[in-house]
């Protein structure tokens, strides 16, 4: 092929069936990345205080609310957001739907950072972080503990994510034979990459079972693991839609080719969410707690907002014509994500009551650390898609073969 610029329409026709992933290049310095850098510096300042003076110097957590946003947002919610790779691997490789293939790598990238930073956030939050390795040591591990399952499983999954992702690095480094050797065994890691999130995303819900009466009956149920799992899978799919949109806007890419896939994903979200709502309400009716949806003050209000945020996407996505519109897909996804975030905040903080006299609302420094962690994640994503072959190559400046 002659090395001269190709008109974009021609290029896209050339690549019609060959949306090979490629690095999109471009400068890393922009006002946006500078702001991200500043947020990271601010977070580092407060983190230094946390490690010098203790958790109380920066956070508002207390012995009535020992878990704050560093647990609930940075781990419980952030790993839910990072389920895109899990959800896409599930449909692409396990349900064997190859057409989703080119959405896998961007989704996996977001998962990689979401989980890696979730893991790092745990270290920030652990009071005795220098003992963290005890979780993975047979002489300390307590296998009856839900926390053990969550921690061991997330640790393993972070490792699996990096292995799943390593072909992109090996490709970048030109290590063809290593890449080929690794790919022979990749199906094992794909299997693990679906099993491990299934286990720990459900266990994030199981964490609350031992809290017993301290969790309000609108949230406390033996079905917590199932409800957390269903919302996690949905979060994964919703994030893929959001991500595709943001990548299209942020990197000025054409989304038309992705749209048929995204609308199918919308249909999957609708199905899983419908199952979730039926199971959740059905469980409440069976256990006789449905009346509390209207009689428990602020907790009832939060429950109803949650349900609205879950039911809205079901209604919108049930119309096939809506599923073909990016705006409707996006609105439904945002609503779904809002519901799932609220579900996690409510279950861990709003529904949690250890007795009178205890209050928790995150302090400004505590929130700034969380914002800084998010900034690291976004910045890392930008660097990666610019430097490594992550996003599908259509309508970018990458040269055709």
């Amino acid at each position: 092929m002659v090395n001269h610029p190709i008109p974009s329409e021609v290029a896209s026709r050339l690549r019609k069936n060959k949306a090979k992933a490629s690095a999109i290049g471009g400068s890393l310095i922009s006002p946006f990345t500078m702001v991200l850098g500043l947020l990271i510096v601010i977070a580092m300042y407060f983190l230094a205080q946390r490690f010098i003076y203790g958790l109380g110097a920066v956070t508002n957590i207390n012995n009535g609310y020992p878990w704050g946003i560093w647990v609930v947002w940075d781990v419980v919610i952030a790993t839910g957001f990072a389920c895109g790779g899990y959800a896409m691997a599930l449909v692409t490789y396990i349900l064997n739907r190859g057409e989703y293939h080119h959405l896998v790598r961007p989704a996996l990238t977001a998962s990689l950072f979401g989980y890696s930073l979730g893991g790092l956030s745990v270290l920030i939050d652990l009071g005795r972080y220098w003992n963290f390795w005890h979780i993975l040591s047979p002489s300390y591990a307590q296998t009856g503990s839900v926390m053990f399952e969550v921690a061991a499983c997330i640790s393993c999954y972070i490792l699996v994510l990096w292995i799943e992702f390593s072909p992109a690095f090996l490709e970048h480094l030109g290590m063809k034979s290593a890449k080929k050797a690794l790919n022979k065994f990749m199906f094992v890691f794909i299997g693990l990459g679906v099993l491990l999130p299934t286990m720990h995303q459900s266990s994030l819900g199981s964490l609350l079972v031992v809290f017993g009466y301290q969790i309000h009956p609108l949230w406390q149920t033996p079905l917590l693991p199932l409800l957390f799992l269903l919302t996690a899978v949905c979060m994964g799919f919703a994030i893929v839609i959001l991500e595709a949109t943001l990548a299209a806007v942020g990197f000025k890419r054409d989304i038309a080719e992705d749209l048929p896939m995204l609308s199918k994903i919308g249909k999957i979200i609708m199905g899983i969410l419908a199952a979730y709502v039926v199971i959740r309400l059905g469980d409440l009716m069976v256990r006789g707690g449905i009346g509390k949806a209207f009689t428990s003050g602020i907790k009832s209000v939060m429950f109803l907002i949650e349900m609205a945020a879950f039911i809205y996407p079901i209604v919108v996505l049930s119309k096939p014509s809506n599923r073909r519109l990016l705006s409707k897909l996006l609105a439904a996804s945002m609503s779904m994500l809002t519901g799932a975030v609220l579900y996690r905040i409510d279950a861990f903080l709003v529904a949690y009551d250890t007795g009178p006299g205890w209050h928790y609302f995150p302090s400004a420094p505590e929130m700034l650390v969380t914002i800084g962690v998010i900034a690291i994640e976004v910045l890392a994503y930008i660097i990666f898609v610019r430097k490594f072959p992550i996003l599908p190559g259509h309508s970018t400046t990458a040269a055709a073969e």
Partner: protein, 340 residues
Amino acid sequence: MSITRRNFLRNAAGGTAAAAACATLASMPAEARESNKVPDKAIGLLYDSTLCIGCKACMSGCKEANELPLEDTIGEKLWDTPLELSGKTYTVIKVYQHGTMENKDKAENGFAHIKRQCLHCVDPSCVSACPVSAMLKRPEDGVVTYNKDACIGCRYCVAACPFGVPQFQYDTPTPQIAKCQLCKHRLAEGKIPACAQQCPTGATLFGTYPALSAEIERRKALKPGEAALYPRRTVDSGDNHEKPAPEYVEHVYGQKDAGGTQVRYLAGVPFDKLALPVGLPDRSYAADSETLQHTLYGGLILPGVALAGLVAAAWKGSKDHHDDDDFDMFDHPEGGKTHG
């Protein structure tokens, strides 16, 4: 598709795995975990709210025995003033107060003392929650101990305890969980817990679980107002004082609550007024949680079966996408049957 060596091996392996999975599933026992039982040589405390005079000798005894610092919560720097359990306080005496506060151990216009401390659950949530065996229940006497050298500081125990007992230290870069361990260091020397040792009225009484059970029954059988003897320190210390029997509420706190506790309470006012959660089930929350975990993860059977299925599906998927050995999860986006 012709039968190649690889296909044959794949089918054979798949069949074996499926058969093995079925065999294991069929033999899997129903693993509902019941609440744990009181250990044979269990020891504990009986706190009788009606005997307590609120002198707080137990609190200062506890601080001395456990080398805990004083607290100043009211800014007067006059006394040790913990308002609740904290990172510096393993036990605290609190007072229920109502109306004119004239009548001791009465709910109406009365007051009553309550001693907050670890209840040493028969089936503790903190032990079940702890991922690294830092919280343990000693199998012989049932004391719930804490090992800071194992602890990772995740605070799951703090959140899980139905009684709000374990306390995390938020004001230090090297925090620990603070919690009564029934003076395990004094027990090792043949002594009794400091709070029971210091109590001048026998309101906090140390003993074996059965001895304390018998003492509870004796007190409950007393006729209110009749003179009765109350031992100090231990049930059989022989150091008794005489006092009219009070009117107890029916509920013996800790007998069954959340699976039962080895520190039990008698009181003259209902326990919900004494800041203890009432209406807890007889089954422990630890049993609920571990039944769920064992059902899902017992012997790693379900995850193993699931993994076998997922890996098989991923393998099949990779073979359908292209028939060479170079399966790549990224590089063949248009692969798959639908795109022929």
